[in-house]
Symmetry: C2
Subunit: 480 residues, 2 copies
């Protein structure tokens, strides 16, 4: 296709080249200057919209003008997840190879709903997820070459929903309508688990009040004895346990549920066992942290997010099952217009049957790029470095008599607070975030307002964590 | 942050600039040469995986080497959705401004789950979806400034699931557990509707056998009288109708359900009414096609996909509701670690409550770029051109006595077949697709195997459609 053949209004390949360079430059500049922005956006509700024209443009505009609007119109409303001073929530770290792999995926523009609609999209995904089984020391059954297999989902929320559905269907013999189990299905997770478990249980029609939030121990980890007791009580009441979710690294405090003990209960009870390691799963790249997932061979499904702590931009949640047949039976529907020889041969995976959406982009490219760019060695280096920095911070907290650690810090998240009480901690957090110099978030542990410092942003180095601690102390000093 | 400060293993901003240009060039080259590839990938199952190393790399590799592997290792397994000779399924068209908007989103790397986690991501999304209400002539109630609002979802499958859940919850008074409605909830769509409706009804626990597939008329459009009868029969049997989905442009044949007549029934019955216009919704950019959505003000929710026919790369499904409170009540859960002042003020939208996943990327950027680059005028131009080309093709089919049209072709999809019977049509399709020169898919209408030619790829021009028709006739000639 020559340039002159490109129809009107479209951006020609030559123009794409020119404008593409400009966007690449924009991002490279952003990487260099990201520290200069306030980490947490300082705008008020409605402020960004107020800067935008009320009516859509009737005529097209030059691309340069559109790109030039990003800085004044959009950037004031951006909270900088890619700042090295971002210590809030969990990281959503990105990297050059991930961004460029994703760009290539956009450029190819394939839709991988079926193997046939782009075999490479499916096969690279299966392959890279098999690589990750090796890289993370996951159970061999999770491999696509065994009984299981992995798939990329958008988020850990969608992954846990998929797992809940598979558990529900296995318990109801794939009836899809909860027949005979209305109000009798029960699901279990700890009181510290992520809200997505409750959301999934609601979506699946099991009902929030039939999600048992199992008590935790002094480290905020699920108590297997309490789980076993609750399951027994529910069975005695005629209810039908169908799903248990354990967490390797809770969002609130990075608590580690005992996977093996919970898995043994699930195995004995015949209940679907899902393990959510959305952030902390990345730590298993390093053999010294694999003890945290001991017992994972008892899990029916497992998820972790390279888009949190493995330098792969959103969205990229990796979800594995030990028995792919159950998953496919839960979600598969084959209308005439999707039938094709490859599907009928049974020799291929059609990933549309592995998650909620039908359509899917070629997300494996970015993961392939990241793994090859860093190598296992490079990824391990950064995981270890982030854990070291968090441990250093935890040490400073412990050494300062005004502060206390609020929970164990096994990896890269530190939960801490002033001993001076909730109001002091609430004020401290607000002052820190309003400064724009760093961004932390909070949780409540044992009824007390608690600050969280999560280390995992791509560009975070020792000096940023040091500066965070300095700023925290200065703020407390200034507040007296 | 200066270059020397960038930690080891990461791609520095300067390296990102260099490699980023290379990927941009790769995509521009691809746009120019996409016609040279066989449209449908010719690989066998397992062939792509066989070219990949069994073990993950321990050491990192140079980016140039990774990018150089794409052509030999990946491209043979790509089916070229961006080829102007792609006439299969529905289009998934992309464009320069969309790809670059998405690239910017990857570079910013913000996670817009809450307003506070990047106000611009939320506000630009609300704003652009309000623009689209104007651009498409949608009901004013869908605007975020009225009682409704729009949100970007990944796919129309997820959108219809969200709608089913809102309908289920409204019918069960937001019980989330189908209490008292076990096996009694019923959903309705036409026998020609997309498989995602059945998938959603299964996921929601309503059960496939409680999805009524309403009979269609001679144009494959839902019969409102049959819907009304079925609802009456179900009510008489003590069942609880909770959801109806009409389609503006079915996947199989682009059939148009009568929105107003169905909407009036839903309104009278108090049943949630969702309208799925995944591909054909784009046509409403042109006032002359809006008659197809007449009655949309009766809908509770509506979805169309800019990632199908509006030059916006996957994923971008736009979903609107007339009453956002029902949607938010269906999906909202607020754990401590997500609490923040903006949310508590009630002055902002937190889009995590508008769909299944929690995390979300800044997808509004690409839509904003597309709308500004093309303007309403440019988008209309291409929609009209695609419809013209399809109508031209339909005319050629009708003029050839060996062929017949299998359904009306109101827009850009033509369903046609040889009069010679199923086997001849099956053979024709296989020969065409194996040639690599074009890619069509099939459906079954009135029990007969039918070919589908969908016009909507970004680079498709008159000469491609002419060549497709020529190739089809030559293949039939050669097959005698």
């Amino acid at each position: 296709m020559t340039q002159s053949q490109f129809p009107s209004f479209h951006m020609t390949p030559d123009a794409f080249r020119r404008h593409g360079y400009a966007v690449i430059d924009w991002i490279a500049d952003y990487m260099e200057r990201v520290e200069q922005y306030p980490v947490l956006s300082q705008v008020q509700p409605g402020q960004i919209r107020a800067g935008l024209p009320i009516d859509p443009p009737q005529q097209g505009e030059p691309f340069d003008a559109i790109l030039a609007d990003v800085e004044p119109l959009i950037m004031p409303g951006v909270t900088h997840w890619q700042s090295p001073n971002f210590f809030a929530f969990f990281p959503a770290n990105a990297s050059g190879p991930a961004i460029l792999g994703d760009l290539l995926s956009s450029g190819l523009g394939v839709q991988g709903m079926l193997w046939a609609t782009s075999p490479a999209a499916t096969e690279l995904e299966s392959h890279v997820l098999d690589w990750l089984v090796e890289m993370l020391g996951l159970p061999a059954a999770f491999k696509s070459t065994a009984s299981g297999g992995g798939v990329i989902q958008d988020t850990a929320s969608s992954a846990v929903l998929t797992a809940v559905l598979a558990g529900r269907e296995r318990a109801t013999r794939f009836a899809s309508n909860l027949t005979g189990c209305d109000g009798r299905l029960v699901a279990y997770t700890s009181s510290q688990a992520h809200s997505s478990v409750e959301k999934a249980v609601k979506i699946a029609g099991i009902g929030s009040e039939h999600l048992r939030l199992i008590a935790v121990d002094e480290n905020f980890a699920m108590r297997p004895d309490a789980l076993a007791q609750q399951i027994a009580a529910d069975r005695a009441a005629g209810l039908v346990p169908c799903f248990v979710c354990a967490t390797v690294g809770t969002t609130s405090s990075n608590a580690m549920d005992p996977v093996r003990a919970i898995g043994e209960i699930c195995r004995a009870e015949g209940v679907w066992f899902h393990v959510d390691a959305a952030m902390s799963g990345t730590a298993a790249l390093c053999p010294e942290f694999r003890y945290l997932q001991d017992g994972l061979e008892l899990a029916d499904s497992y998820a972790f997010n390279p888009h949190k702590w493995m330098f792969t931009n959103f969205d990229c949640d990796c979800f594995w099952v030990a028995d792919r047949a159950s998953l496919i039976q839960t979600l598969s529907i084959l209308p005439e217009y999707l039938k094709n020889q490859a599907t009928e041969s049974g020799a291929v995976f059609d990933y549309r049957d592995w998650h909620i959406p039908l359509g899917r982009r070629f997300r494996a490219l970015k993961l392939w790029f990241v793994i090859r760019h860093y190598g296992v060695e490079g990824l391990r280096h950064h995981v270890r470095r982030h854990v070291e920095l968090a441990q250093q911070f935890a040490g400073w907290v412990q050494a300062d008599p005004r502060f206390e650690l609020a929970a164990p810090a096994p990896l890269n998240l530190v939960c801490f607070r002033l001993r001076a009480g909730d109001e002091a901690n609430r004020r401290l957090l607000e002052q820190l975030n309003r400064s724009g110099e760093l961004y932390l978030t909070h949780t409540v542990l044992d009824g007390h307002y608690t600050l969280r410092l999560s280390v995992g942003q791509t560009w975070t180095e020792e000096r940023h964590v040091e500066r965070a601690w300095q700023r925290i102390r200065e703020t407390v000093d200034g507040d007296r």
